[in-house]
Structure formats: structure tokens, C-alpha cells
Amino acid sequence: MVKLGKTGFFTARERSRRTPMPIAPARIHVYTLTTALGHGCRPHLQALSEMRPGLRPWTPEEAPVQSWAGVVDGLDAVRLPARLAAFDCRNNRLAELALGGDGFAEQVEAARERCGPNRIGLFLGTSTAGIRHTEQCYRRHFEEKTPGLGEDLRFDSTHAYVSLADYCRRRLGLSGPAMVISTACSSGAKTFAAAQRALSAGLCDAAVVGGVDTLCATTLLGFHALGLLSPTPCTPWGLGRTGISIGEGAAFALLEGAGEADDDGLSLLGYGESTDAYHIASPHPQGEGAVSAMRAALDSAGISADAIDYINLHGTGTPANDLSEDRAVARVFGDTAIASATKGWTGHTLGASGAVEAVISLICLREGLIPGTLNTTTFDPELTTRLIRESAPRPLARVLSNAFGFAGNNCALVFGRTSCA
């Protein structure tokens, strides 16, 4: 492979594709997440700092498939407010639990008082919404021979993609523009881009973004059928890596275009989006789409590749994904990138992962931490990008977070201190 310098090189077509104007940074006032590592930012910081794992052996009731998963404890005990009982399903329970973390719901309420409920947008990502509930209705239908799937399927408020946004919109008392983005594993990341545009276009003054996805049989058995599910904890960038470990997770952030600086002073500085035009379930072997997403993210932040202090990789642990991302990172950043993958902690939270890892990036920026790469003992020598193995404190100004999904849908985000904008 030809080694490229830090700025890489661009074909005429790639040059013409580059975003001409930096975007207006979107301030991030509050953020939270709930994954197998715990509820809220603090347990995540602790687990990342201490290299404490979150995955456990998990076999679905439906089939004797060996896997490790990032399970969120306590969801069975979560109760939605009585007025929103129709939304009850595992996915909305996880949304409910996560919204209570780090004072997030209270901060949204304060923003609602400040901006008005109709001036707060809501952009959320999920790959499967409440499909776990649908699966249980199918199971009951075939095992108990019940007629149909049952009225308690409550399709619109559990199964439908919109159910996630509908639940959170009602729960947070918002009445502004809202939608669900579902682009597989880039969903949660793309909500940040959509919100920045909505703020820039004047559609809203603040925006709740994020992603929520929960464990279900169709996804787990689907990845197993594709040969992409690891029987052991996933080892991103590892030699002999065997695939992903699935996790469930939820992450939220509150973005504002302008206003008073918060204590953290963190912002979304840039984003880049692209598609591969290559294959429905395999990434482009040279990471073509990933390269253009990362370059567009840098351009829209108005910075060059060497201004990035840390890259939170998509790093799923499948042979093809990591190879493709490595080629792409090498083309954009050369071989000096400081990078790691955090899915060894949380599992791959799929439609939520872009938001979960965006919030992990924000925690790392705030706390000055470069997370390591959990579970991977021997890195694949075929891969150019050398990953950080052990978590270590280090001041950070700008972080890039990658999220790449099935059907070749790519998104890269740049976060940083607002003073860096």
C-alpha cells in the first residue's frame, strides 16, 4: 500500500467533493448515556479509566447461539409514566432510564423554559426501535396459537421507528420538529449532523439528539447467520478477530446553536456523511466512503487532520470492517493517528453506537482521557493504525468519532472545546 502523508492526496473528483465552508459549531450543554457499563457518565469514565469490562456471556432464549453482549441491567423494572404506558417496550424503557441520567431531562426542561417547547428539535437514531416487543408477539402467536399478533402489539408506539421519537417528545414535553434517523450503525451519529443543520437553518434554537437500541433476537441471530457474531468478547483490531459483540445502549445530548457557554465548553465542530456505493453488508475494501466522510468532517470543522488529538474508531471487530476503516484512517491521517476502539467495553450498540461513542468522546474531552482498546491482546499486524491499548490521561482539544453502517452509510463527527472553534 502506498503510504500517504498526513494530508493524504486527493483526486480531482475528491477535491471537488470537499465541503467549502466550515459549519457553525453547535454547543453541547449536557449529555448522558446508559450502557452495560452503567447509568450516566460517571460509571463510564470509571470503567474506561480502570479498563473494567461490560460484556458478559449471553445466549438468547430463541437459539443456542454463543455470544457475549453488553446488557443493561434493571430494564425489566423500569416503568414508564402512566400516561405513556402505551409506549412500554424494552427500547422505550431504556430511553426512559437514560433520559434520567446526568440531569439530562432537567436540563431539557430548562431549555424548554428558555426557548419554548416548539423551538427544540428532536433527532434520534435507532436501527430496530421496539422490535423486541414485536418478536414476543410473534412468539406468542406461534407458540400459543393466539389469533393474530394481539392488540397489545401497540405497533405505532412500540414497533414503528417513530415510537422512539414520539416517546421522548412526549416525555420531554417538546413540540418542535422531530424525526427518527435509521441508517443502521451510523444512525446515532447522523442525528448530530441533522440537528446542526436544523439549528443553522433556524428550524429550532436547541435540539435533543441521540440514539437508543436494545437487544433482540432478529439482530443477534441475523448477525450470527452472516457469520459476523463473535463467540467471545469482541477484539477490535485484534489478530484473528472473530466479529462483533452486540450491546444495548442509549445516549442523548442537548445542542444549541448559540447562547451562554457552559462549564464544559464543548461543541460539535464538524460532521461528514457519505455512502459507499459498494455492497449492502460489506464495507468498501479501501474505505472509500469512510475517507470522504472523515475528510468532510475535518473540512466542515475547518481543520486539518493533524488537529485531531484522538480518534474514537468505529472498530467493530469484524475482519472486513476493521480492515476497511484502517485503510481509510491511514489515507486521511497517515500512520501517526492516536486512536482506539471502545466497543470492547459496551459491545456494538448498533443504531445507538454513533451517539454512545459521541458521548464517550465528549467524556474523554472533558476529562482528558484517551481510552484504550479493551479485550485486544495482539493487534493485527496487517493494520497500519496502531491503537492505544491501555487507557491513559491526556489533555484533548479535538476528537473525531467514526460510525459506519450496513448498506455503506458513513458518518464522522468532530467534537472539541468551543475555544478551538
Binding site: 467533493r17 399478533l149 414503528a160 421507528y161 414520539d166 437553518a201 432478529t218 447467520a225 457519505s274 455512502t275
Partner: protein, 265 residues
């Protein structure tokens, strides 16, 4: 937010393409609810073409119509795919495999079940590497798609292809999402330029609740009311008739999208 329409595609029973549907939607010809006829997605390799579901074929057909005669190539074009529930047949197939047949789901069905599979097939068929967003907002999905496309145009000053599609649910899910007509439409949208002679749309969010613009034909009105993608029909009908119009589209309860249409030359 102001944008222009430079290409249109439509597909549904009795609505074979934009050229054929135009006099029907304009009220110059009666609507006849014919069988659905969808072109095969020629840009895909034979294997992918064979596996392409109705949702994919429908969306790609409408998208290609909207891009016909486009001066710029599609390689960099940004796309927005709007569908409330995606391909429910694939969800049904996976759940039946697991709970009825007690076998693992088909890997092909699983990979096609992601909401953005249709976007992925468009990108593969056209060699299009531009940004693509697949979104949903229930019965307000078309309005959400139009708003997202408009927002991208305002921010980037570049064209966006909006595709809305919805296919009927299979037997077990049908009572929960009851409609019978598949429908797709596509709009090639762009920023306004001086001296423009194309239809122009002005979008505004409205909190007052006005009646939604209906279709005058009873069968098309049923399609509009039941299929989330067909909520676009009154807008397409006004464009077909070449008249100024103010159209109210459903978005969220208490929030409607108002579209002011100027027909252009």
C-alpha cells in the same frame, strides 16, 4: 425555507410514472386503480436485482424518474429516503423463521432489513457516494423527509433527491398498519436561482390545526389517508395542475407542514 422542484417520480397502482400520472392528478383524466407495474432496478447486478424487494424496486423506479434528464450526474448527489415502516415483509420473514419455522433468519433477509437498505441499493445502482439519510416519522414521514431535504438544501446550497415509499404490511402485521396500496414518489429539489421557471416550494411549520389538503378522487384520497408516503399526493396534484396552492401536510400532532407552491413558467 424556499426550494425548487426539478424532477418528479411517482409510482402506485394506476400511477405508472409522472408523465402518465400528471393528467390524472391534474383532474384531466379519471383515476383507474390498475395493478402496480414496477420497472426492474437495472443499475443493480443480476443477483441484487433478483433479491430486490418491492420496496426497493418501487423507490428506485420513482427515484430514476425524478433524475431523468438531470444535467448533473448522480455520483455526489445527497439523498433523503423517507419511509414510516420500511420493509415490513422482511421483519415478518425473520420473525416467522425464528418463531414459526425454528430456523435462523436468512442472512440476505437480515441485511436487507435495515431501514437504509433501499438507500444502499440506490447508491450501488447509481454509483452515488453522496450523503444519505433514511428517516421515519410515522404518518408525518413525508413532511419530515421534505423538511430534512429542505434543511440540507438551505445549509449546503446543493440539490437533494427526496424519495418517499411505503409498501403494505404482510398478513400478520397488516391489521396494525392497515393499507393496501404500495406508493412511492421522488422529488429532485434544489436551491432557488434567479430567473427560475420551475415549481417553487415555500415551507413553514404551523402550530394551528388546519384540515389537511385532500384528494378530490375518492380512491386517491383513500391512498393519501392510509399510506404515509401518499400524503405527498396533494402536493404532486397541485404541481401536475400547474397552479399556485397552499397545502397542509401532516407532521406531528399539533404541528403541520405548510407548503406554498408557485407553479413556475
Amino acid at each position: 425555507m424556499r426550494l425548487t422542484v426539478s424532477g418528479i417520480g411517482i409510482l402506485g397502482p394506476g400511477l405508472a410514472d409522472w408523465i402518465g400520472a400528471r393528467p390524472v392528478l391534474a383532474g384531466d383524466q379519471p383515476y383507474v386503480a390498475d395493478a402496480l407495474s414496477v420497472s426492474p432496478p437495472l443499475g443493480l447486478n443480476p443477483n441484487e436485482r433478483r433479491r430486490a424487494t418491492l420496496a426497493t424496486r418501487l423507490a428506485l423506479d420513482a427515484a430514476r424518474q425524478a433524475m431523468a434528464g438531470a444535467r448533473s450526474d448522480t455520483a455526489e448527489l445527497a439523498t433523503v429516503f423517507a419511509s414510516a415502516d420500511g420493509d415490513m415483509g422482511l421483519i415478518d420473514s425473520m420473525c416467522r423463521d425464528i418463531y414459526e419455522h425454528r430456523v435462523p433468519p436468512s442472512p440476505t433477509v437480515f441485511q436487507n432489513s435495515v431501514h437504509n437498505a433501499v438507500s444502499g441499493y440506490w447508491s450501488i445502482a447509481e454509483g452515488c457516494r453522496g450523503p444519505s439519510t433514511s428517516l421515519a416519522a410515522g404518518d408525518g414521514t413525508f413532511a419530515a423527509g421534505l423538511l430534512e431535504a429542505a434543511t440540507q438544501i438551505v445549509c449546503s446550497a446543493r440539490s437533494v433527491l427526496l424519495v418517499a415509499f411505503e409498501v403494505p404490511a404482510p398478513e400478520l402485521l397488516h391489521p396494525h398498519r392497515p393499507f393496501d396500496s404500495a406508493f412511492a414518489c421522488a422529488l429532485r429539489l434544489g436551491p432557488t436561482t434567479p430567473g427560475e421557471d420551475r415549481p417553487t416550494l415555500d415551507l413553514a411549520l404551523c402550530e394551528d390545526e388546519q384540515p389537511f389538503t385532500p384528494m378530490s378522487d375518492a380512491a386517491l384520497e383513500v391512498m393519501r389517508r392510509t399510506n404515509p408516503a401518499a400524503r405527498a399526493l396533494p402536493l404532486l396534484a397541485a404541481i401536475a395542475a400547474g397552479r399556485s396552492a397552499v397545502i397542509r401536510l401532516p407532521y406531528w400532532p399539533g404541528l403541520q407542514l405548510e407548503v406554498r407552491l408557485e407553479p413556475g413558467a
